[in-house]
Symmetry: D2
Subunit: 246 residues, 4 copies
């Protein structure tokens, strides 16, 4: 197994877990989530099936908590460990409400996770990714951000979610321009549709089995981005079910 | 003079002051800035030339400070006062730095002013603007946000500024969609170029007298947005000198 | 009255006629339309109310026809006449059809008017506009293009309309960048909504008197663009009724 | 080998040839180019190495020529043959010139190839692709368009190229929305950089071996798009070298 690691923030029932499983086939994976319940069974599953997973309870919006995670990674994997991939899949809570009824906390919490969290995660993982460049990783080390429909459109009554998502997209574009020339591949994926997870299992059933995005499909897409060579980097792609209206 | 007021946040040497002067020709203006030095002489100038200006020292990123401003406005103009315009011209500090050297504080301060500040200002002023709709203002009450080149592009080493600006643009789009049908005209202006203020006086001199954006010109543009009727609302326009490369 | 002229292509019952009336208050106006019936009564109206209008039957998609119009303009106003404004309001026919049933002619006709027509009109009018710069027009000479919702979004079954409109927007952006520094102000207006013309009079009545864009309002907006000084040019703005969903 | 075919328009020294080779590993490929010299040696290479290639001299901007190609395909592969992929890689000539010196022919030729050519190619290939859906192709049949930097930005003096490219992008978006629900995957790739072909071999050498886009890399990217399942379609991605400034 690779000496390089992959770091995934925001592992829950859906995309994050699928991405972690996919990258765990090649790299030891670090699983970050605020609540250990979010990564516990996933870590066990990966560890018991021949991979290596290391979960760290982390609040990505809190710089101390993120620094603790960095320290824990260095303690576990060595202080000169490099990363082949870092994937930011965390997101602030989704609130739809008339603007004048939107609590300040809903707005700032979304920014704290999507914008500040994206910033702190990038600050924490880019040194590992640059170390991956030094260590001549097989594929260019990748920093991938999960976006949404709301990364491009800001709908009525949804400003708390979209402001965080637009900020995160801006961050990813700036980082792509700065770190591409340094060998790190920064990408942003627009997930434009409902993801097929337990919570959405009953939704859109009448539209057929392909009407929701598959988390494993997203994981494949992220893996594909990871394998692109330095001559052909994608910053952004959109992903949606064939039947989605847009 | 109108019973309706105009509220301008971020009055300094440039755009904010020019906008305040322009709107003061028709409305009593409330001037918000953190430092009273930013609005003192402007308020005197307006008050001594037949207008009415009322400065309130306000930190737009702090909800208590913004609430104090709301209370002061009601005390000064009456608790049922309506607003014809609210203009958000505040901006977090501009930092250009390699990402890994960017202090967390620079990042969060930009978000605090541009994103949270935009949110708090909108929460505070929309009730006044909706009151302006009720009181049948001559022009549809306007909520105008000042954007920048960095509202559309996120350059290397400039993520702290652009994330705040993208977030603010997202906020303005969501509000335009929600409050347009309620009669409030929400706009976002992309200021794409250097503004001609004392600090930039010596810049680009060789490019001629029109190579920088005129604050008074921006004020005219904002006033024009304000006068558009309900049938013809502009959400976004860009503004740049004729000679600007883009 | 100004010695500089304004040239309007695509004058019919709606925007074009309103724009022509507006600019006719200041400039002699040249009215271009394929069918003289489109400009005849408008020209009479302007000429009989103190303005000057000169109609020329022109197919903007045909270079010979456009050259004839240029010759006619020079014959009427002098070979060194300058223009203060040129407004391209022509549009290919709007067809909504399943793609495989869309006749090739519908597709190429839309391109011929919107893209090739925009090109030929610009080629024909830019020399007049540059002459307007030389003759120190009061306002920077303006070249304004009328866009639509379909200039930004390309919906299913509407490719013939949107391809022409995207092409026209591209043309306008390129021209803005090339001719701004030469003193010509090139703009593109996104008309996002139904325009209130005789054909649409009965539409959306339940949504109130402001639910459709007013042609006179659009004319005001174009005039405003025309009056912007060289320090503050707008390339693009959107225009939509307050109640429009977007 | 698959009974389904792949059709590639615009095969020359670079992307088109690489794409044809890639898809020829799985599908018989039809090679379209105006000049048979563009596909002759490529067809021989594919045919002599175990694949099947069938070249047809075709002018994609001429509906009769495209219809001839359709007839030739049916004659060669059977009238009910389905397609797994159709790739439009043709482009009008690139001209950089001051607008007033740009020949009308340069402008209309770019539109004829990029816009009308894209339209005629789509009209011709979509029935084969829908037949591929009926015949339960392993991967959703794909219609892929090659875009460029100029698909998003329209620079000064480059209007002839960008208008065609913007029109093609509009076409691809409309088709993606209409044919996605019918099972055809329509994509658009923004090629943002110099492609490494014989003509550009000496360019940018000092920037290293990865400073130009690799045609084989683009072919891999197109193949990846082709293999995405119906739950996870990408309409658009950008592709650029790691060191590219953007």
């Amino acid at each position: 197994m690779s000496k390089l690691i992959a770091i995934v923030a925001g592992v829950g029932a859906g995309t994050g877990a699928a991405v972690a499983r996919k990258f765990a086939a090649t790299y030891p994976v670090v699983l970050l989530a605020r609540n250990p319940d979010s990564f516990k069974s996933l870590a066990e599953e990966i560890n018991s099936s021949g991979g290596k997973a290391f979960g760290i309870s982390t609040d990505v919006s809190d710089s101390k908590s993120v620094q603790n995670a960095v320290n824990a990674i260095k303690k576990e994997f060595g202080s000169d460990v490099g990363a082949a991939a870092a994937i930011f899949n965390a997101s602030g809570g989704f609130t739809r409400a008339p603007f004048l009824e939107l609590p300040e906390e809903a707005f700032t919490q979304s920014l704290a996770v999507s914008a500040t969290g994206g910033f702190l995660f990038s600050k924490a993982t880019l040194p590992f990714l640059l170390q991956g460049v030094n260590q001549k990783s097989q594929h260019p080390p990748s920093l991938i951000f999960t976006g949404a429909t709301a990364s491009l459109k800001s709908s009525a009554q949804m400003s708390s979610f979209s402001t965080g998502k637009w900020a995160l997209r801006a961050l990813s574009q700036s980082l792509a321009k700065e770190f591409g020339p340094q060998g790190v591949h920064v990408s942003h994926a627009i997930i434009d549709g409902i993801i097929d997870i337990p919570r959405t299992r009953e939704w859109m059933k009448e539209a057929g089995p392909d009407a929701k995005l598959s988390p494993d499909g997203i994981a494949n897409d992220y893996w594909y981005l990871h394998t692109q060579p330095r001559s052909n980097f994608t910053w952004e792609l959109d992903l949606r079910p064939a039947v989605e209206k847009w």
